[in-house]
Amino acid sequence: MKKVREKYGSMVCILVVVVMALAIKSSAMSEDEHGIRSMNARRLNYWFCDIPFEAGVYVLGRFDTPVITLQSYKLNTNGSFGYNAAMENARMQWENAIDVPINTVSSSNAKIQYLGGTVEELVAFGVSDVDSSVAGMTGIYCDDDTEDWIYANTTVEAKVHTATIGYIIDRGNANYVNVCVHEMGHALGWHGHSSQTADIMHPSSSSPTTLTNRDILQISQAYNRSDY
């Protein structure tokens, strides 16, 4: 028995080391790829984001969670600033569009965070500094790892959003429903814009207040889990 232990003992130890090393490596990989689905290039059916995120860069984002949390509040008590109602309108429209619950929470750890206020109030909060001409801002934290999806012959970067924070500027008489729905579209995954003026995701702060089919189809394909 002692001879057997001496003969095979070192081999068993080496085996244990290799198995443990592999286990450590694989656990690091799963942390590394948190939130990223492993799959082959997925084909998209629509592409209405014809003003791309950046010249030649096509991006579609999404949250990879069964429920998206939203924290939203005003930084002032100004009753004529219709931010709260506009943001609730935006939440409901997008929740229906992507068919994923967007739940309002009070925690600042929410996946989507929006604040409404004057330029001075929002600048004091310290995420971004803005001049008098800025109407809204959305900052998106993304996982570094991306997948490549395909629309026609174009490669689309599929980014996983880990968190977003945005500002809606109190500008007196602005169309806040349009601004809030538009900005939340970015938070959910619309990284560029539509060139059609009727779409909420056109880069204009003009009249549309209701999502068009184009707005919905573009984003919902990122959340359409049955296609995976």
Binding site: I14, N78, G117, E120, V123, V134, M137, H193
Partner: protein
């Protein structure tokens, strides 16, 4: 045999430890922020109308920070407004900016200036105790270079009337009141308590409940706070739960502790976010400080 086992254990430990450190690096790398801005596109006239400073500056250098960049200029000639230093810093966010109506977008934080060249800058000047220096912002993509005879706003040519220079054109469009260059009156105080009491709209014993946001574009952190007692100012605005937001210079307070703080609303009377009033208006919650401030308030 025992030595061999010890070597194996050491190898396992090394592997495990190197696995842990790699993981930390991955987490740190995976949080890049993409920022999208929506700007109401100003015409050249509107840009001048919203500005409070215009000058000719020689471009010196670009200072890049994590979330923004600053372009340093030496002031050569002031066209209107006030500057307090011979060098100014023009702030620009990092991110992507979209301009409504024109379907025009640009990547922010990319230098368009050449060292040693002079540019005309039309800017909005901001002052705050939260900034390292006065902050100047340009409300649009502006490129006015007399040396190159190139005058553009959002890549569109700025037309200058015949017989006029670009400087004359700017001064014609600017409200005459902007050209007065009146010197800002500076108030001097006998001591720090007088300064705090005069500059702060509210002074009170404030408990720091939580860190709400670590400042990314200035030297402040925003905390959720509760007012325990007030020495100056009444009926301040709070959220429904009685808390309010207060932006204080970094590294001045600890969450869970109370301080005697002088502060003012970030903008109008309806603000729920406040800023410390002076660089020294966050004080230890001592009886001595309370007495000093209370006596000054009574004067």
């Amino acid at each position: 045999m025992k030595k061999r086992y010890l070597i194996y254990i050491m190898i396992i430990l090394c592997l495990a430890l190197s696995g842990c450190s790699n993981e930390i690096e991955v987490i740190e790398e995976t949080n890049q922020m993409i920022v999208l801005f929506h700007r109401q596109e100003y015409s050249f006239e509107e840009l001048i109308d919203h500005s409070n400073v215009a000058l000719v500056g020689e471009y010196v250098d670009m200072i890049e920070q994590e979330n923004y960049c600053e372009y340093k200029f030496v002031v050569k000639e002031l066209l209107y407004g006030q500057v307090s230093e011979p060098e100014i810093y023009v702030f620009e966010n990092k991110g992507i900016e979209y301009n409504p109506e024109t379907e025009y977008s640009r990547v922010l934080g990319i230098n368009q200036y050449s060292k040693g060249k002079e540019y005309i800058l039309i800017m909005e000047k901001k002052e705050s105790i939260l900034y390292d220096h006065d902050r100047y912002m340009i409300a649009g993509e502006l490129y006015l270079c007399e040396e190159d005879q190139e005058y553009k706003l959002f890549s569109e040519k700025v037309s200058v009337p015949e017989g006029k220079t670009i400087r004359e054109h700017i001064l014609t469009l600017a409200d005459p009141s902007k050209r007065q260059n009146a010197n800002k009156s500076t108030v001097t105080y006998a001591n720090f308590t007088e300064r705090i009491v005069n500059e702060a709209q509210y002074i009170g014993m404030i408990k720091i409940v939580d860190l709400e946001m670590e400042g990314k574009v200035h030297n402040g952190n925003t905390y959720r706070c509760i007012a325990e007692s007030m020495i100056k100012g009444k009926n301040m605005n709070t959220f429904e739960d009685g808390t309010f937001l207060l932006t204080l210079l970094k590294d001045t307070v600890e969450v869970g502790k109370s301080y005697l703080i002088g502060f003012t609303p970030a903008s109008g009377s309806t603000s729920l976010i406040y800023i410390q009033a002076t660089v020294d208006s966050v004080m230890e919650a001592s009886t001595e400080n309370v007495n000093l401030i209370s006596e000054q308030v009574k004067k």
